[in-house]
Amino acid sequence: MSFELRGVSVRYSPALPRLALSDVTMSIAQGEQVALIGPSGAGKTTLLHTLAFARGIDSGSLRALDAEPWGLSSSGRHALRTRIFLAPQTPPLPPRQRVVTAVLAGRLPQWSLFKAVASLFKPADPQAAYEALARFDLQDKLYARVDRLSGGERQRCSLARLLVSNAQALLVDEPLSALDPALAQQTLDVLQQEAADRKATLICSLHQVELARAHFPRIVGLRGGRVVFDAPREAVSDQMIAALYQQAGREPQVSVGEEPGIGAGRSFASGCF
């Protein structure tokens, strides 16, 4: 079993009573490909971060890759992180870095510190970076700087980093948000092909419902931090989709204790502008 959640709840922050995820229970087998859909603010990103234990859980239990990350020591948990790749929605690439360095950073968990330092002077495996970029038609950007790339190119560059990693679980947060329809199709194909080739689990949050239904055998609908449906694609009907997105955000938020209401302005630090 790749991931197993039982009654998992996650708060936005320890100080806020609102729940970003409430009572989520699901299990995902190794090698399975799952699409997460739902309106903005539904908890898709929080769920992906929770699965990658990039954020803690407030109640419930999480098993990932046959281990219990929150029962492990901090270093044990960090060792487990090398087997999971979390690709955030905004590409995490420093603007002044070269593409080849940014892509090869996907190998860092396997590299010794010496190799990491040496690779800053002379890229350790430019061939791997070139091949990964070529799958997104970006091979001619190998030695370009990240800030010379367009938004869509940056997004695919961060996915090329995913291709050079050797993770067994790929958690991808809206990989298509900056891409046109044709590129979106191609990019999704590459991701799914890669996951199938290395028998890795692929969990992908998407706003393109049609692409999700066309490509993924299993669809999870999230809304207000709760799983609305979790079904094979054949069982997902147009009515279920319509209900999922209907008047998004109009219903009251799930909360513990008192409703924060408009006085929630206290959650901003005075240094925010």
Partner: protein, 278 residues
């Protein structure tokens, strides 16, 4: 009143805090100015003006005898050497301390938002060490070290190394912590080591700020080594001390011109390096 202008919009929750902060700052600053006996008009009374005028008049023309220029050139070179050697030693101490106290590189923080007890106490100890190093001014270190290692540049180098290690370590860590954490967090979340996340995520984000601060500190070290020359730590300061005592305004003027040139040179180096990294 603006409160009645549009009742549909809730009032800005940060507004009252901001006004309070400004008022508090003024209330605290005004007594500080009067306690420190800040009276700039003293500069303008007749006696001060006359003394200033006579000293300034002796500045012209700046001394330019060849043997004096040679002496000053040697002292300048010694000053630059003291500053550079001191900065290098300071960097050797500051870089590991920066890495140690940087909370962004904490692995136990991921997911929990809190660093572990061990990490917290090590960081706090290192922070105290940095406070200790930089709370003693380099002039005081120099006075102490002159007694230990004797008159000469060694005392100046060590004094700069100690104070600047404290400053560099603190400010480097703060520059790194205030840059965008997205890149290094993503690397840590995927299981990279701390140092790898620093090299591939945090450093490229803040490289030019770090370089600019380092060159600025080098400039400060040049000035600092001049001041320490007055207590016998060698270099341009020692020469200036001698000239001041002999009331040789022309020689002082030449050395002041050299200070300006040194600072302008440091500025140029900083500009070139930052353009290279931009």
């Amino acid at each position: 009143m603006s409160a009645t202008a549009n009742p549909a919009i809730p009032s800005d929750p940060a507004w009252r805090g901001r006004v309070t902060a400004i008022v508090l700052t003024l209330v605290v600053l005004w007594p500080l100015l009067s306690w420190s006996e800040f009276k700039p008009w003293i500069l303008l009374d007749a006696q001060s003006l006359q003394a200033t005028g006579m000293f300034l008049a002796s500045f012209l023309p700046p001394a330019h005898a060849p043997e004096f220029l040679l002496l000053v050139a040697e002292a300048t070179w010694q000053t630059i050497a003291i500053a550079t050697a001191g900065m290098t030693l300071a960097l050797i101490g500051a870089v590991p301390l920066t890495i140690l106290i940087n909370e962004r590189l904490s692995v136990s923080r991921l997911g929990t938002g809190r660093t572990g007890a061990l990490g917290r106490s090590v960081r706090q100890l290192m922070r105290w060490l940095l406070v200790l190093l930089r709370s003693v001014p380099e002039l005081v270190w120099a006075l102490l070290l002159v007694r230990i290692v004797g008159l000469g540049p060694t005392a100046g180098v060590l004094a700069i190394a100690l104070t600047y290690c404290g400053m560099l370590g603190k400010v480097y860590a703060e520059i790194l912590e205030s840059s965008d954490p997205h890149a290094s967090d993503a690397l840590l979340n995927n299981g990279s080591g701390r140092l790898a996340a620093l090299l591939y995520g945090a450093l490229p984000e803040s490289a030019s700020e770090l370089v600019s601060y380092t060159v600025y500190r080098w400039e400060c070290a040049i000035r600092g080594s001049v001041v320490m020359g007055f207590v016998g730590a060698g270099g341009l300061g020692q020469r200036m001390d001698e000239s001041m005592k002999m009331l040789a305004g022309g020689e002082v003027a030449t050395m002041l011109i050299i200070f300006v040139l040194l600072v302008a040179g440091a500025d140029l180096v900083s500009k070139l390096l930052r353009r290279r990294l931009a």
